[in-house]
């Protein structure tokens, strides 16, 4: 990225445009790239999810539109975007309208620090990991906004559940990565990947990976932790009242969070893009998709927890496990 900006600055110098614009152009380009990457991966993922769930359930899934239903998603997006934009009469208009953006934005921002390759990263922040852990929390505000703004009791219950869930699962998630930070000695995601050149941290920190992975599933609102939108009891939770493009934004955010979480798990525990023969980029994508398939497999197999049981798992199981993992990591770094 820095190399690109320097090159751009050189280019601008030749053509009389103030050099400051280089930063702006680079930022805009990065934004476009990230948005299209997310948009594309969400499309692939929704199709994948439908296919995987179908095959798990001994069905075929979408088959009609395009080969194996691969164009189904385009049709779905067209349908969602062209739908009438409805806002419930009693809804708190601005809160209701802004909420999807507040939910989607963090999912996009989380991608800024993910290093697909040591060069291919938007910003190599020296506090990258901290940034990554804190950014998704913003979306819980959006969820509460959606729940509150809809002025529907089911939405409100969903929003409240979402807030409680996000807050309690951020703690084990944050503690579980402390071990990684100890080993790598840095918060920079690029440094963490390069520190794993000899051995992946999943080998040294299986417990940490487990806690991080489970907490990430909870952060992505997926079964067995999809309580905020548990359709059997809360109809649709906080998205009950949303439709059309706004609904699509919620779905995009959900899958965006999923990709970000799996990508971060790859960076922290699976050595990022490291691998043999194939270029790092390909390895990175393979690893991320394996993790995503795992999440989908879990989703279509398990029932969901009850809210109070969910809290129990976070506070009584995951946090102690994460602390034990921390002790193990500490002893390894101290004595070896």
């Amino acid at each position: 990225m820095t190399a690109f900006i320097t090159w751009l600055e050189g280019l601008l110098k030749q053509s009389d445009i103030p050099v400051v614009y280089a930063q702006v152009i680079a930022a805009a380009l990065a934004g476009i790239v990230i948005f299209s990457v997310i948009g594309l991966s969400v499309m692939v993922l929704v199709w994948m999810e439908r296919k995987i769930s179908a095959h798990v359930q001994s069905r075929l899934g979408p088959m009609r539109v395009g080969p194996h239903g691969s164009l189904q998603l385009l049709a779905d997006i067209l349908k969602l975007v062209t739908k009438e934009d409805t806002v419930p009469e009693k809804a708190d208009y601005w809160v209701f309208v802004i909420a999807p953006f507040v939910v989607l934005l963090p999912a996009v921002l989380a991608f800024l620090v993910i290093p697909i390759d040591s060069k291919l990263v938007v910003r190599n922040l020296n506090v990258g990991l901290l940034y990554f852990l804190s950014i998704p929390s913003i979306s819980s505000i959006g969820l509460i906004m959606a729940g509150w703004g809809s002025r529907s009791k089911y939405s409100l219950l969903g929003g409240m559940r979402a807030a409680a869930q996000f807050i309690s699962y951020e703690i084990p998630r944050a503690i579980s990565v402390l071990g990684v930070i100890m080993f790598a000695g840095s918060l920079s995601t690029v440094a963490i990947v390069s520190a794993q050149s000899r051995i992946w941290y999943i080998v040294l920190q299986p417990l940490g990976f487990l806690v991080f992975f489970i907490a990430s599933i909870a952060e992505c609102n997926r079964i067995p932790f999809d309580l905020p939108e548990g359709e059997a009891e809360l109809v649709g939770g906080y998205i009950t009242e949303y439709s059309g493009a706004r609904y699509a934004m919620f779905m995009m955010a959900e899958y965006g969070h999923l990709v970000a979480a799996c990508a971060m798990a790859t960076v922290l525990f699976l050595g990022g893009g490291s691998g043999f023969l194939l270029p790092p980029f390909v390895w990175f994508v393979i690893k991320v998709f394996v993790l995503i398939c795992l999440v989908m497999w879990i989703r279509w197999t398990f029932p969901r927890f009850r809210p109070d049981q969910l809290m129990d798992i976070s506070w009584k199981v995951l946090i102690p496990l994460a602390l034990i993992n921390l002790v193990i990591a500490g002893s390894i770094t101290a004595f070896l």
Partner: protein
């Protein structure tokens, strides 16, 4: 001043968890249910009144629409009442066919309920598996009577058609298949840690309460009451078969699901015995008139359905149409315990409890 108050939320009649059109008015404190009031009647079609204006034979297809998952059993309980009233004798072979059909239908109903229980808890996959197997059972019904959902198969003094060729082999094969599948579903759903955590100790119904509310069927047996009409007040030829009555201990949701799966196993046992000992002969008593005019009198028949005890009370005034036709629905009594057992549970439990009681609104509202 900060204060808290209970919220009232309306669950149903259009709600994914109420299976049909039950409406629950819940008073909740946070996630906890303080009070639950069920409202019924959204699927009321006046079947009992319509029946008073139909001849006896014309009522059979109406009974299909009561508990639409088990048409055969509805047909049968009505036919039993009419046969009692008019003194019609049923040939041996027809009795065997009826038993086989009723047990196959019981399996259909229990499979759906198992799938629904999983779906309420968020496990979608089991639902699709159960639906897949239901299709196979429906194929058998289609072979026999041409219909898949509303069978209209049982007639006064027998059944409408004899079993087709190849039915026995296909059924034996399916029984073998289902036996494995039931084990698989037990492993996949009932033995799942999360499912057990969600269902064990939830919606406990004590023996006394169950009896006092007139609860019947798997919900009653899950509470530990040993009462199955097939065993304890045998109708038709059920006294000839060797089977057990599965019982629960705790009376919670999980026991209800477990009792249902065990009943599928017992039904398979009954079907196998019936297939092996089926006699030949008539499948229908000849000479039963189309327009039946039973003598003045009344009759009550009852039968063990998959949801509990189905009964038909019939009063004849000697004309071609019944004077009164009353259907005793199991689901109606079963959901009457909802206010009792929902109190103190959480909202997500409400969905599971309704699913575990398994009301079918076709018969509750009639």
């Amino acid at each position: 001043m900060l204060r808290t108050e209970d919220i009232q939320i309306n669950m149903g009649p259009q709600h994914p968890a109420t299976h049909g059109v039950l409406r629950l008015e819940l008073k909740i404190d946070g996630e906890e249910i303080v009070e639950a009031t069920p409202y019924i009647g959204y699927l009321h079609r006046g079947i009992e009144k319509i029946a008073e204006n139909r001849t006896y034979t014309q009522i059979i297809p109406l009974t299909d629409r009561l508990d639409y998952t088990v048409s055969m059993i509805n047909n049968w309980v009505y036919a039993l009442a009419v046969e009692k009233l008019a003194g019609i004798v049923v040939p041996e072979r027809a009795e065997y066919i009826r038993v086989i059909m009723a047990e196959l239908n019981r399996i259909v109903s229990h499979l759906i309920t198992t799938g629904v229980n999983g779906m309420d808890a968020g496990a979608f996959t089991i639902w699709f598996y159960c639906i897949r197997d239901r299709e196979l059972l429906w194929d058998l019904f289609e072979m026999v009577c041409g219909a898949r959902l509303t069978h209209n198969y049982i007639r006064f003094g027998g059944v409408s058609y004899d079993l087709p060729d190849g039915f026995k082999e296909k059924t034996v094969e399916l029984c073998e298949y289902l036996k494995d599948k039931v084990d698989e579903y037990e492993n996949l759903l009932l033995n799942n840690y999360i499912f057990q955590k969600r269902n064990k100790g939830i919606g406990i119904l004590s023996e006394e309460d169950a009896v006092a509310h007139g609860v019947t069927g798997p919900a009653l047996r899950a509470s530990g009451v040993n009462w199955d009409l097939r065993k304890h007040a045998p109708y038709s030829i059920y006294d000839r078969f060797d089977f057990e009555v599965p019982l629960g201990e705790a009376g919670d949701n999980w026991d209800r699901a477990k009792v249902r799966l065990d009943e599928i196993r017992q039904s398979i046992r009954i079907i196998r015995q019936a297939l092996n000992s089926m006699p030949g002969g008539e499948f229908r008593t000849p000479g039963v008139p189309r327009i039946l005019k039973p003598e003045l009198g009344e009759a009550y028949s009852r039968i063990e359905g998959p949801r509990g005890e189905y009964g038909v009370y019939l009063v004849s005034d000697g004309s071609a149409k019944p004077l009164r036709w009353k259907f005793r629905s199991a689901g109606f009594s079963n959901i009457s315990v909802l206010p009792l057992i929902l109190k103190g549970l959480k909202i997500p439990d409400a969905a599971l409890v309704i699913g575990a009681l398994d009301p079918c609104f076709g018969e509750v509202d009639r």
